[in-house]
């Protein structure tokens, strides 16, 4: 008898809880790791000032796509997530995202939202993703180490010859001090972000404009590979680079790396969490000196059918408010709203402006097979990096990667 009573009580309590108005809801959101703290901070600020809360789950960036896809298939998907903008078309095409077109177009500042994000968020004239964070790749150097090595700390290196020469001088400072760093051990995502600007600046690319032909083997890429190989051979790069699958991407923050190509997110992390590191930022030079950059970042997408879409919309509007934008920018995400960008950056670290400037020379590769070709730890691009930079057979590395990329592109059509 008592058992039944308790059961009844429990069910009525559960019913009561369900029946309560959705005054304080919790939005479940995912964010990938490795994009700095800007989103985490904006969530913190939002939670502090609103009844609705955003519950954030960090997912390793190499696994976000497959985790999200499996979560959708298993009915466990979060309400919304911060997704690498490159993947928006694929998920929209699969019909898994909420159509935000009408609501987004009613926002007064819709036309000033980052155009490349909106372009990648659009599928068949409907909008499925809204710009959340913008980031570009830039080149950073450690001014302290420059000083110690007798270099001019205020002079940004403009060519790779200069960078190599500086790296040698910094390496000469001691056992644990290195001239240059990159995550080369199978981190395709890191290397497309920091290494391809070398060839983009010189006018070459790894895929044809329509994304249907692999064009890896160019004189420009050979030259870029040669620059990195030389630095490795001269022992200017820590040995961990060869097996770093992205976990040590922010090695620059340890203060013993002289130079490294980073993202704007990292500038935010450095400024807010490592004030002890005195560093300069410039554009990444191409192999013949002309700079380039990778424009990336995240779109905010909403899982189709979520019951909390209104709450998500309120949260998005907060992100686009002046407060939201300022917090995002402080932690390294460039403003997504063009109309207030200058005001947002006002009073912030001037180095952030370099990240903004990079947008004008930046590229974003467009391919539906980005995961397979580039980002996968076992894709041809990641394999090419390890083989060409650390292996003994450069020609073989070019040949294999070129063939593998082409065969993946062909099998996907």
């Amino acid at each position: 008898m008592t058992v039944i009573k308790t059961l009844l009580a429990a069910t009525s309590l559960a019913a009561l809880m369900l029946a309560q108005p959705a005054s304080a809801d919790t939005i479940n959101m995912w964010v990938r790791t490795g994009i700095g703290d800007s989103f985490k901070e904006v969530v913190k600020a939002y939670n502090a000032g609103h009844d609705d809360k955003v519950q954030l789950t960090e997912v390793p960036y190499t696994e976000l796509v497959q985790k999200y896809a499996t979560a959708i298939a298993g009915g466990q998907a979060p309400d919304a997530l911060s997704m690498d903008l490159i993947y928006t078309p694929a998920f929209a095409a699969a019909g898994q995202l909420e159509d935000l077109t009408d609501w987004a177009k009613s926002l007064p500042y819709f036309n000033s939202l980052s155009p490349s994000h909106v372009r990648l968020g659009t599928y068949q004239d409907r909008l499925y993703g809204l710009p959340l964070s913008v980031e570009t790749s830039v080149f950073a150097w450690n001014k302290n180490l420059y000083r110690k090595a007798g270099l001019d700390p205020e002079k940004a290196p403009a060519t790779w010859e200069e960078i190599t020469a500086n790296a040698q001088k910094i390496r000469a400072l001691g056992d644990d001090t290195y001239g240059f760093y990159f995550s080369g051990g199978g981190c395709g995502g890191c290397m497309i972000f920091t290494f391809t600007p070398l060839v983009w600046g010189a006018g070459a690319d790894i895929l044809s404009a329509d994304g249907k032909t692999a064009t890896l083997d160019t004189p420009e890429m050979r030259k870029a590979v040669d620059i990195y190989r030389t630095m490795i051979k001269k022992d200017l790069v820590p040995a961990i680079a060869a097996s770093d699958n992205g976990a040590n991407f922010l090695s620059f923050t340890n203060g013993r790396i002289g130079q490294q190509s980073l993202g704007a997110f990292a500038i935010g992390t450095l400024v807010t969490q490592h004030p002890e590191i005195d560093f300069g930022v410039t554009l990444i030079p191409g192999v013949n000196g002309k700079p380039s950059s990778f424009a990336g970042g995240d779109n905010l997408v909403v899982t189709k059918g979520t019951p909390r879409i209104e709450e998500v919309k309120t949260f998005i509007q907060y992100i686009y408010s002046m407060d939201g934008q300022k917090i995002m920018a402080k932690y390294g995400s460039l403003p997504t709203r063009g109309d207030i960008a200058d005001e947002v950056l006002k009073g912030l670290d001037p180095r952030m402006a370099v990240g903004l400037k990079a947008i004008s020379v930046a590229k974003t590769p467009y391919t539906l097979q980005f995961n397979d070709l580039i980002n996968s730890n076992n894709g041809p691009w990641a394999a090419f990096i390890t083989a060409a930079l650390f292996g003994d057979d450069v020609d073989g590395a070019f040949k294999t990667a070129q063939e593998d990329m082409q065969s993946i592109i062909d099998s996907g059509q």
Binding site: Q66, A69, A93
Partner: protein, 313 residues
């Protein structure tokens, strides 16, 4: 009289035969009832998933979106898939090396802990301890041990003066492969040792004694007495070890992310990549079915080679 005598046993035999048949039928049903729970488990957790996998393998089945019937196309694609063949090759190589390594370590250990000696319980426990660590946990632990900067092995080599500067063990195929083999042996050998130990302990002491009295030397006793009597145990340990090695995944995924230049992609890793990186669940299913077939063939071959199941004790 004769008619009575001759007629009387007949109905009796018929009746007896009848009841025996009835009894056999009823024990048959009872037997089925006894194994029904196990059969149900096998049905729900093995047979049905395999059938579903077969069904999926006949489709172009993306992780998201609509699936399409494509017949045997996944299987024909697999025949010319160079990366799959490479994964098979690597898995075969790994299985061979790691199985030999495990037995080379586990057999002496089993002989060592079989004898009653001081602290034998302690030795058995210590050797068996790594087995209770999860493979993923062990992989993470060893990934840290092998880290070039903050790890243990590389700085140790440098401290001992064996190398000038810390080598990055996980960056080259040979050293990374060696690290993984050592890790797996450390992790698995204790389990194989326990299996072999039970086989050793099942050999009656009198046999050994008799052989000794006949003047058989230590190696002769091992070769002609211990080994033949342990055939069943060795077969079990071998099948467990080989099956486990063919299904290896965690260590490559966690420790080397597929190894320098994708040279450490095992078959299961490749299936995982096809299914959850490239989202081709259908193709991944076809690969899984082929792997299942290979495992069945290998297990049957092992049983045949070791002549298990032919004679009844």
């Amino acid at each position: 009289m004769t008619s009575v005598v001759s007629s009387s046993p007949l109905p009796a035999t018929r009746a007896r035969g009848h009841s025996r048949r009835r009894r056999r039928a009823s024990t048959g049903w009872r037997g089925l009832a006894y194994i029904a729970p196990a059969m149900l488990l096998v049905l729900v957790f093995f047979v049905l998933p395999v059938l579903l996998t077969v069904w999926m393998s006949l489709h172009n089945w993306p992780l998201m979106g609509a699936q399409k019937w494509i017949g045997l196309k996944n299987y024909t694609r697999l025949l010319s898939d160079a990366r799959f063949l490479q994964a098979l090759n690597f898995t075969a190589f790994y299985t061979l090396v790691v199985t030999i390594a495990i037995f080379a370590v586990a057999f002496p250990l089993a002989l060592f802990v079989e004898k009653q000696r001081r602290f034998v319980g302690f030795y058995r426990t210590v050797i068996f301890l790594p087995v209770v660590v999860g493979l993923a946990t062990a992989s993470l632990l060893w990934a840290w041990l092998a880290n070039v900067d903050s790890g243990f092995f590389s700085p140790l080599l440098r401290l001992l003066g064996l190398v000038d500067r810390s080598p990055n063990l996980l960056a080259r195929f040979d050293t990374a492969f060696l690290t993984i083999i050592v890790m797996v042996v450390w992790k698995i050998a204790g389990f194989t040792m326990i299996l072999l130990l039970t086989g050793l302990q099942a050999i009656p002491a009198e046999l050994d004694e008799a052989a000794r009295i006949d003047g058989a030397r230590r190696f002769q006793r091992f070769r002609h007495l211990t080994l033949p009597l342990m055939r069943r145990t060795i077969a079990l340990a071998l099948i467990v070890s080989i099956t486990g090695s063919i299904l290896a995944f965690d260590q490559f995924y966690i420790m080397t992310s597929g190894g320098p230049q994708n040279r450490m992609i095992s078959v299961v890793y490749y299936i995982f990549n096809q299914s959850f990186v490239s989202f081709n669940l259908g193709y991944g299913a076809a690969l899984s079915i082929v792997l299942l077939a290979i495992l069945v063939v290998i297990s049957i071959a092992q049983l045949k080679l070791l002549k298990i199941g032919e004679e009844r004790p």
